[in-house]
C-alpha cells in the first residue's frame, strides 16, 4: 500500500494554505533541516548547496557567534571557545561526560548540568544548542520564504527526561514552536517505511556521532508501533575517533598534548576513520604545535581490532531490545542503518552477522532522520494529503519511578510503555503526625536510587497529622507524546495537591527562557515586539482554522445557543487579531479555547464511536 502520495497542486483536502513546517535532526556532529515540498521530503541546503551544518559553535571575543563550517576552523586555533559535540553535554553533569580529560573546554559545574566558560561568558549546553537551531531556522525561513508554523526536533530514543527537556528548551530558546520531539530511529523508520511501503518487523540501528539507539518497530497498515527501544546515550562515532586518537598517542609515544594539538589529532583521527570506509589503509601525518611530527599508517585490521569492544557494546542493547519485544533476530524483516558511523565496514559486518541478513542502506544515513522528521512535521502541522494517513505510536525508553524507604526504587512506569501514558501509585506516611513527604522522581532500570538518574525532587506539604500509615498519598505520573513527564501528588483523604512539571533541577524555568528570549531579541535586528505579535497572529489564525473546520464537520453536536456562543468568541478573536494588542489576542484565544473544550470532547466521543461501529477510518475521512 502506498502510504505517501505525491499530490498535485490543489489536490490536498485542506482548503487552507500549506503551512510551513520543518524537521530538524539536531545531531552530535552535524545537524540538518528538512521540509515537505510538493509532497516530497527534502533536505534544505545552505547557500553553498551543503546539506549538513556541522554542530559546532564558536564564541569570539568581539561578540560574534559563528555556527557550522565557519566555526569549524576555530577547532584548532581556538578550541576553548569552539564548542563541538555539545549534544553530549545536554542534561548531563560533569561526572557523566566520557573522556572529559581530553576535551579542551573549561567546564563549570552548573546546577546539575555542566556549563562551559567561553570568552562570551558561561554558556549552558542548552544555549549552545539553541545557537545551532537558530542557524537552522534562518536557513529554513530563508529557503521557504516565510515564518514557520512549527518544527519537529529529533532526539535519540534513549535520551532520558533531562536530555529531552534540555532539547525542547533549546528549541524554544531558538524561537521554534515545537510540534513534537521525535525519536531518531522512529523518524528514520518513517522516512524508510513511507518510501518503501514496508510491512512487518523492522529494526533501526542508529549509530550517530555521540549516541547509539536501537529500536524495534512493527509497521502495519499505516501504523508505526515502536515495540521496544534501547541504546547507550554515551556511545557513538566520536568514540571511534577517540580510539584512533589514543592509538596515535601510543604509537607515536607522545607526551600529554596541548588542547590545540589534541583537537588537531582528533580531527586527523576522524579523517582517517572516514578514509578507511573506502580504503584498506589510511595515512595519519601531522605536525604538532609542540614541534613533534606524527607519521603513521593505520589499516582496516588495526582499526577493527581497536574498536571491537565499541561495536560489541552496541549489540548488548540490541539483544535486550529484541528480548523486550519478545522477538528473535530472525523475526526481523529488515535492519535500517542510520547515522554516519554506520558507514564503517566493521559495523556493517557486525550487524549483518547478528541479524543474519545484509542491512538496508538505500537511504543516505546522514539524511534519513531529518527526512522522517520533516514528514512528521508536515503531518502535525495539518498539511495532510488525501490518503496520506498514518500514525506513530512511540514508547518511553527508560523506566520511571520513585524513591521509597531505604533508597530503593519503586517503578511506576516501566520502560517501553506506549506513550502517552499515566500511572498512579499510592504511598503512605511512616511516622505518626507526619505532615510532609518528599517525593524523589528517578529514571533508570536499577533497583537503587543512587544508580538511577534523579529527575526531580519535590515536597507534598500540608498532609493532615495522622497515625503512621493512615495517609493515602496518590502520586500520578503522566508522560506526554514527547516523552516528557509531569508528576502530581495528592493526599486522598483531604484532596491536598502538589503538582510539578518534572523539570530536572537544572532545567530552565519558563521565566528563564522568556528572559533569554528577550535578551536574544534585543540583539537581533528584528524588533522583538513585532515578532511576538506576529507569532500570536499566526497562532490565532491556526486556532481559527481549527475551530472553523470543526464547525464545518460537526456543527450538529452543538445546540443553537452553544453555537451562538462559539460564534461570538470566534468573532471577538477575528476582531482583535488584526490589531496590534498582543494581550488582547492571547485573551481572546484563551476564551475561544475554553469555550470550545466541551465541543472538542463531544467531537472526540463521536469520532471514537464511529471507529467502534466498525467502519474503517479511511471511509470516514473526507
Amino acid at each position: 500500500m502506498a502510504l505517501l502520495q505525491i499530490t498535485e497542486p490543489g489536490q490536498t483536502t485542506a482548503p487552507h494554505e500549506h503551512r510551513l513546517a520543518v524537521g530538524i535532526d539536531l545531531g552530535t556532529t552535524n545537524s540538518l533541516v528538512a521540509t515537505v515540498r510538493s509532497g516530497m521530503a527534502v533536505v534544505l541546503n545552505d547557500e553553498h548547496g551543503r546539506a549538513l551544518l556541522p554542530s559546532v559553535v564558536r564564541y569570539e571575543g568581539d561578540g560574534t557567534v559563528e555556527v557550522g563550517y565557519e566555526a569549524q576552523a576555530g577547532q584548532s586555533i581556538d578550541p576553548k571557545n569552539t564548542i563541538v559535540s555539545v549534544k553530549r553535554f545536554m542534561g548531563r553533569g560533569l561526572k557523566d561526560i566520557a573522556h572529559i580529560e581530553s576535551l579542551p573546554y573549561e567546564f563549570v559545574e552548573g546546577e546539575g548540568m555542566v556549563r562551559l566558560r567561553t570568552v562570551q561568558g558561561v554558556k549552558s549546553p542548552v544555549e549552545v544548542s539553541a545557537d545551532i537551531l537558530r542557524a537552522m531556522r534562518v536557513r529554513a525561513e530563508g529557503a521557504l520564504g516565510g515564518q514557520l508554523t512549527g518544527a519537529v526536533i529529533t532526539v535519540p530514543a534513549y535520551f532520558d527526561d533531562a536530555q529531552r527537556q534540555a532539547t525542547k528548551d533549546a528549541a524554544r530558546l531558538a524561537g521554534f514552536n515545537v510540534l513534537r520531539l521525535l525519536n531518531e530511529p522512529t523518524a528514520a523508520a518513517i522516512a524508510y517505511g513511507l518510501d518503501n511501503g514496508a510491512e512487518g518487523i523492522y529494526a533501526v540501528y542508529d549509530l550517530g556521532g555521540g549516541t547509539f539507539d536501537i529500536s524495534i518497530l512493527r509497521l502495519s497498515k499505516g501504523v508505526f508501533q515502536v515495540l521496544s527501544t534501547g541504546g547507550d546515550s554515551a556511545l557513538g562515532g566520536d568514540d571511534f575517533d577517540h580510539r584512533i586518537f589514543c592509538w596515535v598517542i601510543e604509537q607515536a609515544k607522545l607526551k600529554p598534548v596541548s588542547p590545540q594539538d589534541g583537537r588537531l589529532l582528533l580531527t586527523r583521527a576522524r579523517e582517517a576513520k572516514e578514509y578507511l570506509t573506502t580504503h584498506a589503509v589510511a595515512p595519519i601525518s601531522v605536525r604538532l604545535g609542540s614541534g613533534e611530527y606524527v607519521d603513521l599508517t593505520i589499516t582496516t585490521e588495526i582499526f577493527t581490532e581497536i574498536t571491537r569492544t565499541l561495536v560489541q557494546k552496541t549489540l548488548a542493547p540490541t539483544r535486550k531490545a529484541l528480548r523486550d519485544a519478545n522477538l528473535r533476530p530472525e523475526d526481523v524483516k529488515g535492519v535500517v542503518m542510520v547515522g554516519g558511523a554506520t558507514r564503517m565496514p566493521q559495523v556493517q559486518q557486525a550487524v549483518a552477522a547478528f541479524f543474519g541478513q545484509e542491512p538496508l542502506n538505500n537511504l543516505d544515513p546522514d539524511k534519513v532522520v531529518a527526512l522522517g522528521a520533516a514528514t512528521q512535521a508536515n503531518l502535525l502541522a495539518g498539511n495532510r494529503a488525501a490518503g496520506d494517513d498514518w500514525l506513530l505510536l512511540d514508547v518511553i525508553p527508560l523506566s520511571l519511578g520513585m524513591e521509597t524507604m531505604g533508597g530503593l526504587v519503586e517503578k511506576v512506569i516501566p520502560r517501553n510503555s506506549t506513550i502517552p501514558i499515566a500511572r498512579a501509585q499510592e504511598f503512605t506516611t511512616f511516622k505518626d503526625g507526619q505532615t510532609a513527604m518528599a517525593i524523589q522522581v528517578v529514571q533508570g532500570e536499577r533497583e537503587l536510587v543512587s544508580d538511577c538518574r534523579s529527575l526531580a525532587r519535590f515536597e507534598l506539604r500540608g498532609i493532615p497529622p495522622m497515625v503512621a500509615g493512615a495517609a493515602r498519598i496518590r502520586v500520578t505520573f503522566q508522560v506526554d507524546a514527547d516523552g516528557l513527564l509531569s508528576v502530581t501528588a495528592r493526599e486522598q483523604t483531604t484532596g491536598h495537591e502538589a503538582r510539578i512539571e518534572v523539570k530536572p533541577s537544572y532545567g530552565l524555568s519558563d521565566d528563564e527562557i522568556a528572559a533569554m528570549l528577550k535578551d536574544s531579541f534585543s540583539h537581533a535586528t528584528e524588533d522583538a515586539f513585532r515578532r511576538a505579535l506576529r507569532e500570536a497572529q499566526v497562532e490565532a489564525q491556526r486556532l481559527l482554522e481549527a475551530v472553523q473546520s470543526a464547525l464545518r464537520e460537526d456543527a450538529a453536536l452543538l445546540s443553537t445557543l452553544e453555537r451562538a456562543h462559539v460564534d461570538t468568541l470566534v468573532a471577538r478573536l477575528q476582531a482583535v487579531m488584526i490589531g496590534d494588542d498582543r494581550r488582547a489576542i492571547d485573551d481572546a484565544m484563551a476564551a475561544l479555547n475554553k469555550g470550545t473544550a466541551e465541543f472538542a470532547a463531544r467531537r472526540m466521543n463521536a469520532s471514537v464511536q464511529k471507529a467502534l461501529s466498525g467502519k474503517k477510518v479511511e471511509e470516514l475521512e473526507k
Binding site: 499505516g222 512528521q376 500514525l391 502517552p420 501514558i421 499515566a422 470550545t596 472526540m604 471514537v608 467502534l612
Partner: protein
Amino acid sequence: MTSFDLSFAKQDHFALFGLPRSFAVDRAELDRLYRDVQARVHPDKHAHMGDADRRIAMQWATQVNEAYQTLQNPLRRGRYLLELAGHDPRIETNTAMPAEFLMEQMEWREAVAEARAGGDADTLGELHQRLGKETRAQYEALAQAIDGAHDWTRAADIVRQLMFQEKLLTEIDEALEAVEA
C-alpha cells in the same frame, strides 16, 4: 475546573473498545480496534488544533493505551476482570498459598539462582521454556474459571499464583541477560 464529557473514555476498558467482558479476547480484533481508535484520538492527530482539543486528545490516548495494555496482557486482564466483578484478589495482603505451590516456587528459584551463578544459559533457556508451558496451562485454567465456571475464588487463586510465575519468568529473562552480557 469545568468538567468535560469524558464519560465515554471513563467507561471500563472492555466497553471502551465495545468488547464483551470476558477473559477470552480476540487478539486480532483487539489490535484492530486499538489502532482504529488510537488513529482518531492520538495527540498527533490533533497537533494543529487548539489547546482544548490537544488536552482532550492526550487524555483519550492515555486512556486507550491503558485499556489496550490491560486487555492484551492475560494476567492484567484477569486481575482487571476480578476487580470489575468486585473480587479483589488482595494481592498485597493475601499471601496464603498452597504449601505445595510454595515449595515448587522455592525449587524453581534455587534452580534459576544456580544456573545464573554457573553462567549456564542453556539451563536458563530450558527453565524458561518449562515455566512458560506451565503458565500457559494456568491461563487456560483461568479462562475456564472466569468465562466457564464464573468461579471467582478459584480465579483469584490462579491469578495470585500466576503473579509469582510471571515474576519468575522475568527473573529468568534477567538472568539470561546477565549471563549473556
